[in-house]
Symmetry: C2
Subunit: 469 residues, 2 copies
């Protein structure tokens, strides 16, 4: 698109008010990337609507003029998911930040998309409730963004992903129509499930303007521990057996030795609160947490868990003795990413997923690819889900490194697909992974594309993401 017509800027300003649109170059630069990716493309303007009606008017205008509209929440995508690849309007949604309702009687919440995940949890906690999908970026990530990419994270083994909590949506379609999908009920068999078609659609089908979520009571008791193994592979085998056992841990994280060491080293180096992030070092490290409304169940599960771990050569289990120790364990895990990104300017994050029994294979694939292409790969995993991350801090100016990195990622992804897995367990496709859509989805890629064309015939919503077309 050519630089945006002044007349259009004026029309947009009329919709949202002069204070809530910017074409200032410094602002455009600030909105030209997401938090972690190397993506960079300036939009033509940033618009900050306050309500559904304004978004409807913006989409009517954009659709008429065929101007791209890119919804943006906390900007924590690392895949170029909220970047204006073809210019156009960044739709900054953080002003739509009302928690409209906490329905304590029915364990539900109604929120606008710009509400930050942590804020909903702070509010819900007053009533003993929480929104379980915990992402490490919860202090920044918006619920709209989590719906767009079907986020999950540290507790999804037991509590599932965002999609499992979304029961109704208000959506603005490209032609400006305001529609409601779903009802505030626990289940429905009435008509097509458009709610879950929209969850994970990354802003490419319409703009979500209201979300009705299920909440859950906060568990009363926790048991949190590090399990130290002599072998990463054996720790992954323990995970697979824990899953099979029927114990349902709230968290079950794998952290490999290079990640432990780098986190320990860099966290100290950078100091401040971060310096408290510290792992005990072992070839294989499991961080696990059991939770519940009752201690007896947890105590029984601890025994089963311990037996399985020992069978797989676990040499020590360190239980958190109090809440402080528990928080310290999680703090180390949550600090991995923010620590590693201080090593090099940019970081590549993969999030392939396979069935949990294949987690040892997935880890081996990542390690082998690292060796093959001479790249240091850090591995962490939401292990009970079979969802493993490869983390590679890199220098975007090193062309040789970039080439090897691409080869490494291609290899990991294609081997995951061969084994029946998915390229993304929780982060999405964005721009960075478009090329993996066809290999993963085969013929159903065409079906997705047809749905995209149905909802967005002019391809104005986040063009240049998800689909190569």
């Amino acid at each position: 698109m050519d630089a945006m017509d002044e007349e259009i800027i004026r029309e947009l300003a009329k919709i949202v008010g002069d204070d809530y649109i910017t074409t200032d170059d410094a602002d455009l630069v600030a909105y030209s990337s997401d938090v972690l990716s190397s993506a960079f493309k300036k939009p033509d303007c940033v618009v900050m609507p306050k309500n559904t009606k304004q978004i409807s008017d913006i989409l009517k205008l954009a659709n008429r003029e065929k101007i791209p509209v890119i919804a943006r929440g906390g900007g924590t995508s690392e895949l170029g998911g909220c970047v204006a690849w073809h210019g156009g309007i960044i739709l900054e949604l953080r002003r739509m930040n009302r928690i409209k309702q906490i329905d304590v009687d029915n364990l539900m919440a109604v929120v606008e998309p710009g509400v930050i995940c942590e804020r909903l949890n702070q509010e819900a906690r007053k009533y003993g409730l929480n929104f379980p999908p915990t992402v490490p970026t919860e202090s920044v990530a918006t619920l709209g963004g989590m719906v767009a990419s079907n986020s999950s994270g540290l507790r999804s083994a037991k509590y599932g992903a965002t999609t499992d909590y979304v029961i109704a949506l208000e959506v603005v379609l490209t032609d400006g129509r305001i529609v409601r999908f779903g009802k505030p009920v626990y289940k429905t068999s009435s008509g097509y499930d458009l709610v879950h078609l929209f969850v994970g659609s990354e802003g490419t089908l319409g703009i979500v303007t209201e979300i009705t979520l299920k909440l859950k009571p906060i568990p009363k008791y926790f048991a949190t521990a590090y399990g130290l193994f002599d072998s990463l592979e054996e720790s992954a085998r323990a995970v697979a057996e824990i899953v099979k056992s029927g114990i349902n841990p709230a968290g079950l994280e794998i952290v490999d030795l290079p990640t432990q060491q780098a986190t320990n080293r860099l966290a100290k180096k950078y100091g401040g609160k971060l310096s408290e992030a510290s792992f005990p070092e072992a070839e294989g490290l499991l961080l696990f947490e059991l939770d519940g409304r009752d201690t007896a169940q947890i105590e029984a599960d601890k025994i089963i868990l311990q037996e399985i771990a020992e069978k797989h050569g676990c040499k020590e289990i360190i239980w958190a003795k109090n809440e402080e120790e528990r928080e310290k364990m999680w703090f180390a895990r949550k600090s991995v990413l923010v620590t590693l990104v201080r090593d090099k300017p940019t970081i590549l994050i993969g999030d392939c997923i396979l069935p949990p029994s294949k987690l040892p294979d997935l880890i081996r694939i990542m390690q082998d690819a690292g060796k093959k292409f001479g790249i240091k790969v850090y591995i962490i995993a939401h292990a009970a889900d079979g969802n493993a991350h490869y983390l590679v801090p890199y220098d975007i100016n090193d062309e040789d490194e970039l080439r090897r990195l691409e080869a490494l990622e291609d290899e990991i992804v294609h081997k995951t697909i061969e084994l029946g897995g998915s390229v993304s367990g929780e982060h999405g496709i964005g721009q960075h992974r478009m090329k993996y859509m066809k290999p993963e989805h085969g013929e159903s890629y065409e079906v997705m594309l047809a749905i995209k064309q149905l909802f967005d015939p002019n391809n104005i919503l986040s063009p240049g993401t998800i689909f190569c077309e």
Copy 2:
């Protein structure tokens, strides 16, 4: 459609083999209705494919010739959901009955659509697993049918609906393309969620030919009881408070006094195994069940549950003392429908749903409508879901009764919609409830219709269901 061309019958016979197609009038009559509805329309033929390839060939032919194709599993719809309203081909799927895999390591199963729910559970039980959505018709209902209508039933309060267990599908599209949606993984953020678009679509978007389901470990311990209340409304209030308390009962059923009395009377009358179906009689009756892997949690929850029940005037809680007594309680509940249908030739079954806190309102709406139109309404509810059934045995030849019945149902449904609920919690739309789609879904009805037209431009899949068009 005119009677089907002989040439087309020959082509179909060539696809499935002469033994697996019938145009015999007795067969067509047998396939002209579903189990419980008063729907009646003869198809032109019944075809019994054995595999995906045959279904693909059938759809190619049907799409070319614009012949309706109606998928049918156990035929347990009571809404005319698997009736050939515009003639055409009944696609009888019960020969596609292979359990392809029980993946014990990853708690998954891969099945063909014709597998009967109970058979999967028998097989899974060998490994300590089960498929939790328990429908009272589980000995007849197929998994394909349960996917088509997003069934749930007696355990959905804790365990959710069919949609919560479906992770991947093989589907034949109208043009014969065979596509796969989803992966055998616990979560994914890769592309659009077509899996859950298809769950609940009642055979109107494509034919599901393979289903990958999550399974769960069978709970070890149960505590099951009748709670006897002086007031139906108070029993519903107790339910709402139980939901709010965070106790998560595996079952929480309401049975009103007329239903208890009719079941007791008719079950005796008809004898056999059915005569064992017997309720203690009370104005409000709750059947509840707690389950878990540990007795301590159950014992703790029993106390909370008892306190809440007593607060709402519960005069007695009768705990099942052993497995036999537990089974007897559930047998009575599961026998309600099969008992009531012996009273009159046909039965109307509603399944409106509201948030659980509004269950007392929903029950009152049903009672008031019964009084207003002079109709005896039996009320049962999957109460913790807010999903209440109105059951009305009726005589299809009594035109006055039919008129009053329609008025009654219109009133209940429209009041449910006004309160923010859905016309169907678990049964679907079929033909019977098409007229409620627009009132419930408003503008999003048009979106559903557009998706229908995208997937089935010639409207060959179950025409005359879900959509009035």
